[in-house]
Structure formats: structure tokens, C-alpha cells
């Protein structure tokens, strides 16, 4: 048994992660509910098509909204999964593998999503 454990220096990383989870959680509560209301209550899949997206993305407002939501949601989920791995994957090898996969996948989707949101060129139908 490790007993009291090794003394690890206080880096502040866990503090910032904890703070980020709380702030992003509150912000996401409103953003995700707003997203849900617009996409599934006010509009439906009949209305949402390329043109709908193109019109929304013609203004920077919705791009920013989606970009902020993407970053907050992905990082919030990623940190949650990191916490689970740190709590429950105790084998060194598996832990390193799980964390590495998590980071690679997470940042791949973060980059991909950001690329689409930032570079999408809307061609609005006449």
C-alpha cells in the first residue's frame, strides 16, 4: 500500500480543470438548451437543410455561437472522461493508452469542427 502517497507538487491544473467544469457547465446549460430549442422545437428536420445552415453561417454570430459551444462541450466532455480514466484505470500502461487516445481523438474532433465552422463558405440558394 502506498499509504499517504507521493507528495505531488500543486500545479494548479486540477484547480483550473475544476473551475472550467463549473463555468463551462453553466454556460453550456444555456447554450445547449438554446441550440436544442432552435434546432428541434422552433425548427424541425424538414426545415433544416443546406440552405438553412448557409443562411445562419452568413453571419458571424452563429459561427461564434457554434464555435464556443463546440469548444466548451468537447473540452467539458474530454475532461470528464479524463477524470474517469484517472479514477478507475489504475494500470500504468492502460492509463497512458486511454489518456493518449482520448487526447488524440478529442483534439482531432476539436480541430475538425473548428475548421468546418471557420472555413465554411456559404453559397445561399437564390
Amino acid at each position: 500500500m502506498n499509504g499517504a502517497g507521493r507528495a505531488r507538487p500543486e500545479s494548479g491544473l486540477e484547480l483550473y480543470a475544476w473551475l472550467f467544469m463549473r463555468i463551462s457547465g453553466v454556460v453550456l446549460l444555456f447554450m445547449a438548451l438554446g441550440h436544442l430549442a432552435i434546432m428541434h422545437l422552433l425548427n424541425n428536420i424538414e426545415v433544416i437543410n443546406y440552405n438553412f445552415v448557409a443562411q445562419r453561417y452568413a453571419t458571424p454570430f452563429w459561427r461564434t455561437y457554434d464555435l464556443v459551444m463546440l469548444w466548451l462541450a468537447l473540452l467539458h466532455g474530454l475532461n470528464g472522461a479524463r477524470t474517469l480514466v484517472e479514477d478507475y484505470v489504475s494500470a500504468q500502461g492502460w492509463r497512458a493508452f486511454s489518456l493518449a487516445s482520448l487526447y488524440v481523438l478529442g483534439f482531432f474532433f476539436l480541430a475538425l469542427g473548428s475548421l468546418v465552422i471557420l472555413t465554411f463558405q456559404p453559397v445561399t440558394a437564390p
Binding site: G3, A4, L15
Partner: protein, 232 residues
């Protein structure tokens, strides 16, 4: 009333696996579980092993898992436990024998938070005075009896034995928020580490388990806040 005690027995010198011992006995509804355990030990099976000292809910010796929840055997009455009662050792500690667990690692973490008065200022002529309001600030966490019920009910501790655990945090809280104490920074540095308060996932098991009614999760939250506002 007739009660059946199902006690998780384990003697590492003889048993390869823990086993369930069943004991039928006659008891009063107002008897405590500890009385029933004593009855088993004194009249039915003298090899049953458990810790108990004061038997009045203040020494913290007889915390155990009773019907799946941590409690002090001397503080629960049989009438509240049903006719078949399961008794197991606290989870997450090494079992020495039957209900007796090795609490050395637990006390090592307790010592790690420096649970004693620290000051650099010279001793005043009389006592170090404290206002009633300043004393109330840490009233709740003075009640801890170090029974281990909170720490061994904590899933974060089950998952990671390096986690300092709710009991040690409660005892650090008692000094961190004491206006006379000057060891606040040292203790916050220890609790701010990766295996400190940030491993708490606010599951609240500790609050339900505490036989002294300490709001453990709130105390941990206050330490988190102290760490946060130290930085900002």
C-alpha cells in the same frame, strides 16, 4: 425479538476467502448492534473479532458496514435494522481479521494535513482569544472522531487509495478556518495537490455515513473555495 446476524468473517491465517457467519440470537429491540456483536462473541463464537472501546459513539472504534451503510455499531438500534442484519468491515481498508481493519494508512493521511495548532507569533500572556463568530466558522469539523466511516464510504477513495480522503480534509478544515492558526498555507498546499480535494466528486456518501452529522461535502467545498480564492 429474534435477529439473525450475517457477519462477514475472514481470518487470513486460515481462510482463503471471506465467508458469511450466521448467528441467531434473542435481543431487545432497543439493544444496539454492538450488544448483539458482544452476545455473539461472548456466548456463541469467541473467535469473532472487532474493535470497540467506549461503546457510546465518541471513540470512533466500531465503524463498520451495517446493512450496506457505514455506521457505528454502538449507535444503531436493532429495531432500525430489520430481522436479518448484514455486518461487514469498512470497505477500502485491508482486513486484519473479521471486522477489524488496518487503519494505519488512514491515520498517515490524517497526520499529513498537520492536524495540530501551528503558529509563529509569540505566545500571548493569557489565552489566544477568539470571537464566538470566528469559533463558529469551524464548529462543524471539530466534531470528527476519526472513525473512518466517511473515507470508507467514498467511491473516490475506493478507486484510488492515494486520495487523501474526506476525514483528513475535515481535520484540515478544522485548522484552516481557525482564526488563531497560521498553518493555513501549508495545509492548502497539501490539499491542493492532485490527490487532495480535487479527487472529491461531491458524491455525498460521506455526509450520509458520518455518525457525528458533519456536513463533510460542504467542508470539502469550502477548502476548494479557499484554494480557488487564494489564486484569484
Amino acid at each position: 425479538m429474534k435477529v439473525t446476524l450475517r457477519i462477514k468473517r475472514f481470518n487470513p491465517e486460515k481462510d482463503s476467502q471471506p465467508w458469511w457467519g450466521e448467528y441467531l440470537l434473542e435481543a431487545e429491540p432497543t439493544d444496539r448492534l454492538l450488544d448483539a456483536l458482544n452476545h455473539v462473541k461472548w456466548y456463541l463464537d469467541g473467535t469473532l473479532t472487532y474493535r470497540r472501546s467506549c461503546a457510546h459513539g465518541i471513540c470512533g472504534s466500531d465503524a463498520m458496514l451495517i446493512n450496506g451503510a457505514n455506521a457505528l455499531a454502538c449507535k444503531v438500534l436493532l429495531k432500525n435494522l430489520g430481522s436479518t442484519i448484514t455486518v461487514e468491515p469498512m470497505r477500502g481498508f485491508k482486513v486484519i481479521k473479521d471486522l477489524l481493519v488496518d487503519m494505519e494508512a488512514f491515520f498517515e493521511k490524517y497526520r499529513k494535513v498537520k492536524p495540530y495548532f501551528i503558529t509563529q507569533t509569540p505566545e500571548p500572556e493569557k489565552e489566544r482569544l477568539q470571537s464566538i463568530k470566528d469559533r463558529e466558522r469551524f464548529e462543524d469539523t471539530t466534531k470528527c472522531i476519526l472513525c473512518g466511516a466517511c473515507t470508507t464510504s467514498c467511491p473516490s477513495f475506493w478507486a484510488n487509495e492515494d486520495y487523501i480522503g474526506p476525514a483528513a480534509i475535515v481535520n484540515a478544515h478544522r485548522f484552516i478556518f481557525d482564526s488563531r492558526d497560521e498553518g493555513r498555507e501549508e495545509r492548502l498546499n497539501i490539499l491542493g495537490a492532485a490527490d487532495g480535494v480535487w479527487r472529491c466528486r461531491t458524491i455525498f456518501n460521506c455526509v450520509e455515513a458520518c455518525p457525528r452529522g458533519i456536513n463533510v461535502t460542504r467542508a470539502i467545498g469550502e477548502v476548494k473555495k479557499a484554494l480557488l480564492f487564494r489564486r484569484f
